[in-house]
């Protein structure tokens, strides 16, 4: 999938994660802020990375503000953001 424009998904509520995608950055980077950074930081990043790979997304800057989301929520917010960014609407 190709991202056509910046997009976002999620909320700042507890147990959720707010994802922002900025395409066309030349390389892929993940900037993560999390209430459980010390204990789940690398896990969160790897979930984000997995979704990017599943959808064949490259050259995107991911900004994520995590409020303790579980993996299924991280995946869902990533996918929603990707689909929104890939849409022409």
């Amino acid at each position: 999938m190709e991202l056509l424009k910046p997009s976002k998904a999620g909320t700042y509520e507890s147990n959720d994660i707010y994802i922002m995608l900025f395409p066309g950055q030349g390389k892929t980077s993940i900037e993560l802020e999390s209430v459980v950074f010390d204990t789940f930081g690398s896990q969160i990043k790897s979930v984000i990375q997995d979704v990017l790979e599943e959808y064949g997304i490259q050259n995107v800057m991911v900004k994520a503000v995590d409020k303790g989301a579980l993996d299924f929520t991280i995946r869902a917010r990533m996918i929603t953001a990707i689909i929104r960014g890939a849409s022409n609407e």
């Binding site: 509520e13 959720d16 869902a76 917010r77 996918i79």
Partner: protein, 292 residues
């Protein structure tokens, strides 16, 4: 016997915090809502979240129902496409009429889905057509009454005492019972009024509802308690069934218990109570029904 549905808890479909804990409140069914509690901008988020949720988490000992958006909206088709292959039990179809329930059945049949349908009766037309809506497909396992929207359609105020819903309530109960399907009462929406909830729930039970929907986890305990047979009822039902078995062995058609004649309706009622009690794990317990 239908699945036990004493309490059905609505959970906002775009709220991860609520979704991940939806099964801890002891509701018999969870209704993940894609309709009213999800804003128009977030319908896509909620659908996606539901999909990832069901892939990751299986709720324990609870029926998973999803309320989709109504047939006449543009979200309906997207909702059904997104959820028809997920591991959910039931779809709650809002503003149901004969056309919409047939459409949903068709879409699910096309993919050989095992998902059942519960119809939400919340229009005046829906109330008048309720028998035919329920009877439109064997996939339809029951109905829920939606009091708030119905009152809008009836152009009346929704009151706490609920006189305005009396006709709809008794009519939907009758239709559902005639077809041996589940019948669920509308939520009691004032979550701070415990006494009002108790009265409303007792009334629903007394006129034949199987259970009651709720929009707040704090109501579940009360609703369950009211729709759960008491220890006295269970003990009596057990004795009726035992006496019946004995009477059958002895070739007696009619018998008496505690000086009262026991006939078929009493036996049937006892069987229903025992079935509910077994379902909740209350049988063979001498104590009271704590912990639910």
């Amino acid at each position: 016997m239908n699945r036990l549905r004493r309490s059905l808890l609505f959970i906002p479909g775009n709220s991860p915090g609520m979704l991940q804990n939806a099964d801890v409140f002891d509701a018999d069914s969870i209704i993940i809502d894609l309709e009213d509690s999800v804003s128009i901008d977030e319908k896509d988020s909620a659908r996606c979240l539901l999909k990832e949720l069901t892939n990751a988490i299986s709720y324990q000992n609870v029926e998973t129902i999803v309320r989709v958006n109504p047939f006449e909206t543009k979200y309906y088709e997207q909702d059904i496409d997104a959820i028809k292959s997920l591991g959910i039990d039931t779809i709650l179809l809002p503003k149901a009429d004969i056309q919409s329930v047939k459409d949903l059945d068709k879409r699910l049949s096309l993919v050989n889905s095992r998902i059942k349908i519960m119809v939400l009766i919340e229009t005046a037309l829906g109330v008048e057509q309720v028998f035919n809506i329920l009877n439109a497909t064997p996939r339809c396992i029951g109905l829920m009454l939606g009091g708030e929207d119905l009152c809008v359609d009836l152009m009346c105020e929704r009151s706490k005492s609920g006189e305005e819903l009396l006709y709809a309530r008794t009519r939907v109960v009758n239709a559902a019972r005639a077809l041996k399907k589940s019948v669920i009462d509308t939520p009691f929406t004032d979550t701070s009024d415990e006494e009002g909830l108790i009265n409303d729930t007792i009334f629903a039970k007394n006129i034949g509802f199987n259970g009651k929907a709720s929009i707040n986890p704090r109501q579940i305990h009360t609703i369950n308690r009211i729709f759960t047979p008491s220890i006295q009822e269970i003990k009596y039902a057990k004795r009726v069934i035992e006496a019946n078995e004995k009477a059958l062995k002895e070739g007696k058609g009619v018998f008496s218990l505690d000086g009262k004649m026991v006939d078929l309706p009493v036996i049937k009622r006892a069987e229903i109570i025992m079935a509910i009690a077994k379902n909740i794990g209350l049988v063979n317990m001498s104590g009271d029904n704590h912990g639910n």
